[in-house]
């Protein structure tokens, strides 16, 4: 009896699994999904994802999930539903224009079904309606101008959410309210964007929230936002948030690096048969959280990571490039005025990176001159260049 105090209770709570936050970034590039329509339509993929999410939520009552879409011209939340979208949705439902279009499943609230675990139904409903809304608000002009996807933006949103959730899991305020299972407006795992609402279920344990990101990607061409993307990836690395990648189509360059640097799992489903087994890949490879992964041999392609980078000037993916010796920016060709685009250092190339000459020519005056010009600009002659030593 005397032992009933806070210290002992904390000790017993150690036995409980740490809650885990799964943030899914779904690439909804319409072009790419249209190409995949034959082997894996978007609806199927989403259904598979929903099963996966439900499995994740079922493992631990405190587990949470968030879904961001990386659309062709913007990144948006699918789940939890952002506050302004909820309002808007209520509006359009009042008109009867959007919500009840299908006649089935268009209710404002998820239907009450005794056969379904309530949090699942809520989550499925939210994701479905938000996805519908997203597709309805996409204009042809928008997708024709943007060939790729806003993955960097989506990653940033995911990271912001994760940091907010992590901060609220280890609260500095004393929140003593308990999760109310009978309240129909409360959501599984406290998935509100407002951190003050969901300190309830997990605030009593001092365990850290383990987080991870799963990117379901269908498009390549990420070089356009290379810097932003790599920044997000390195942020994940710093926060030790693994980025798992499920690549359904497209060029793998940077996502493979993302998985490799953050110690995540990279799986590429390149043929229709593999894509048909998407659910199995999700459940088998991506379901274990960070705690479980410590004791598992992880699947995925560990070898042959494509470590190429994109240049800062033309956004080309380069094999051999030029690197600013001061700030390490990457360029695909020598800079015209010899000034680094990023840090403004004055750089000189000596005579590297000229047009190759493989056949000796009798006349070589013009060529020589160019070399001399390049050589005159010695590093260190520029005033602002820091001494490279």
């Amino acid at each position: 009896m005397n032992a009933v105090d806070a210290t002992d209770r904390a000790a017993t709570q150690e036995e409980v699994e740490a809650p885990s936050l799964l943030t899914i970034i779904l690439d909804t590039n319409p072009h790419a999904w249209a190409l995949l329509a034959d082997s894996l339509p978007l609806s199927k993929a989403v259904a598979n994802l929903l099963v996966f999410i439900n499995a994740h939520l079922a493992i631990n009552y405190a587990n949470r999930v968030a879904v961001v879409v990386s659309h062709s011209e913007r990144a948006e939340w699918l789940y939890p539903t952002p506050a302004d979208a909820t309002l808007e949705q209520a509006h359009s439902n009042g008109d009867g224009e959007n919500g009840n279009r299908a006649g089935t499943g268009g209710a404002v609230q998820p239907p009450d079904d005794a056969n379904k675990y309530r949090p699942f139904a809520q989550l499925e409903y939210a994701i479905m309606t938000n996805l519908q809304r997203l597709m309805c608000t996409t204009t042809p002009a928008a997708i024709s101008s943007a060939p790729s996807t806003m993955l960097a933006g989506a990653l940033t949103r995911a990271l912001a959410y994760i940091s907010k959730q992590s901060a609220s899991t280890n609260p500095t305020t004393t929140a003593t309210t308990h999760f109310n299972y009978s309240d129909p407006s409360s959501v599984a795992g406290g998935n509100s964007l407002n951190p003050s609402d969901d300190t309830t279920t997990t605030s009593r344990s001092n365990q850290r929230l383990t987080t991870r990101i799963l990117i379901v990607s269908v498009s390549g061409d990420l070089a356009e936002t290379y810097i932003e993307l790599m920044n997000a990836i390195f942020a994940c690395q710093r926060l030790s948030i693994p980025i798992d990648v499920l690549k359904l189509a497209g060029d793998p360059t940077f996502l493979q690096q993302a998985a490799d640097t953050t110690n995540g799992i990279y799986l590429s489903l390149s043929n229709p048969l593999a894509r048909a087994g998407m659910l199995q890949y999700l459940m088998f490879a991506f379901l274990p959280d960070a705690a479980a992964r410590e004791r598992l041999v992880m699947p995925g392609e560990g070898e042959g990571v494509d470590f190429r980078a994109a240049c800062f000037c033309h956004k080309r993916v380069v094999d051999i490039g030029f690197v600013c010796s001061i700030c390490l920016s990457i360029f695909c060709e020598p800079l015209a005025d010899g000034t680094c685009l990023l840090c403004g250092s004055h750089l000189s190339m000596a005579n590297y990176g000229q047009k190759p000459v493989v056949v000796a020519r009798p006349k070589k005056k013009g060529k020589k001159k160019r070399v001399v010009d390049g050589g005159v600009e010695t590093p260190g002659s520029g005033r602002e260049t820091p001494a490279p030593g």
Binding site: A37, L131, A141, A276, A360, G389
Partner: protein, 656 residues
Amino acid sequence: MSSLKTSVVYKKANGSLACDKRHLIWTPSIPSGVTPSLKIAVADITNLQQTGEASAKVALKVLVKDVSYVFSFTSKDEARKEQVAVTDTLRDAIATLKAAAASSLAPAVGTPGAAQNGGGDTGQSSSMAIAKALSAKPQDEGWYDDARLKSDFQLQRSLLESSKALDERFRQALRDKPETVSVPQFTAQFWSTRLHLLRAHAMEKSQKESEYNILPEIKYNTIIGADGEPIKMLNMTKEQVSLIFKQYPVVRQAYNETVPKPFADPKIFWSRFFASRLLKKLKEKNDPTDPALDRYLEYQEASGPASTAHIPHIIDLEGNEQNTKFHLEGDYEMRAAKHDRPILHLLNQMSEKLLSHVAPEDGDAHAPIGMDEGTFEQLQLRDLAMQDIDNRVVLNVREQQRYTGASGEDELSADARLYAKQDPNRVISSLQNDVQPQNLGSDEQGTLRLDRVLGYDSDDGDEDMDDEPNGVHTNGTSTRKVSIRVGSHAALTGASSSILSSMSQRRRNASTDAHGLNGLSQSVFDTLTITHNTTTEFLHYFWTLFLSGDSSRTSELTGLVSTLDRSLDRINAVGEQAEKERQERLEKMRGQVKEYFQRTGKKRRIDESAVGGGKAVVDEMVRPTVGALKQASEAYRRALEVQMREVAVGGQGSVG
């Protein structure tokens, strides 16, 4: 002093250029008898450049650090000759100056011992002397100069000697280098990529151990002489003598003043010296201390000059009690005699308790300490935690639009080109249809019946591969000949097996890392490593040369390309060697099985795939290298093709 006088034009003014071993003097000719207006010390000249042999204009460019002086030789017939003469004179003068500088520096640094060490490399002695001279002056910024590092052979050699791996790589690459590449060219290239190593080595060398104190090192050897008397023997080396002279100039002075006259023999001087009070005085500074006896030393000297030296009371620990004006009675706990009072212990304990409730600086800043949240809030050292100023530098890529805007159609990726073929309107409408609730298995109430959509049925076999699952929308594209149903049994099994195989591969990779040889013998592996190293070396060389745009080195480049091809042969040779080894091993195993069969009548199978090594393993290991080789030679061939064509066209043009 031989002086050379030539007529030149400098800055469009006629004049004469005179040159002796020290200076290069230019005198304008217009006001005759004027004093020389330009005088360049030979020692300052950093570089000389002349116009080509065939050139009509004869000029000499003299570079003094960053300033250059161009003299055009105007003499009608003799211009070239004069220019050559001036250049030669200057060159000689510079060379002699450098040598003189080196030799004058050498003795200052070269102790006899060091000279002996360097004795082996007589051929390099002058450059060695320079290197020594330079290394003796660490403040010399010359070590940051790439060109000097590249040309300092002695330094390079010593670096090679100190690093075995590098030495091996260098030798192997030197052996395999193409004929067309001369040794200087090769070494220049080799070191140009390793300047940092050279610099580090130079630094390291320049930091030598300082001199030790020589006197305590010299000890007597006591030998029992023929007459039974102990004789004290003193052995000194030449180096020790010179060190003594260097460290104790007074001894040198004594030696100079006494050796020819009072003492005929240096031996007498030394024996007297080692018995002298002078020696004791010199040694005094460096005597080892003896805690037991040294205090008597001090006691004796209490009246000596040391004790009368003034010590300020404020730092004089002994004087404090009596001499200070302040009385420390008020500071109870500060008094030495009272340090063990119980009240002080109590105070200390209280401080400890207070501190135990303060968040440790290295712990989690947000974690509550102690029981009470309120107390924690009060105690948390807010000014120390999480308040660091954000001092990041924001970097922006400037003028990016200039580049990205210009990307043409041809730069679109394969994906983007596929996308461009699709009609955006149709894409969107099909997707809008696709995400309707019924496609997600929505039933009458709107509950998603995911199990229906997934179409997973544990009983279904492979026969219903072509079946459309219930309620799946075909989204209008009736052209699809359904191949594999999403979530079919076959697909899921395939997924499982692919994941399992990737797992087992990962585990294999993780477990064999310790050995890493994959069944290759150590010798084959070493050969492979060396081959790989040299190949990388040549690839470096190739790209540097290839991208240098230097048309005078094309033959060198051609040779290098053939070397790259030969590298491929060498890799293959290693592969064959490994394969041979593997076969031998297999043969041996088969022999054992046969013998076992003859002995016992039982057959045993050997798992040939379990025997590692062989060509396959080698090929797998060097796959990236081979890829790099291919890419290099392809780049070369492409450039060659294009330029051959250009040359052919250009040739016709010039003929026509």
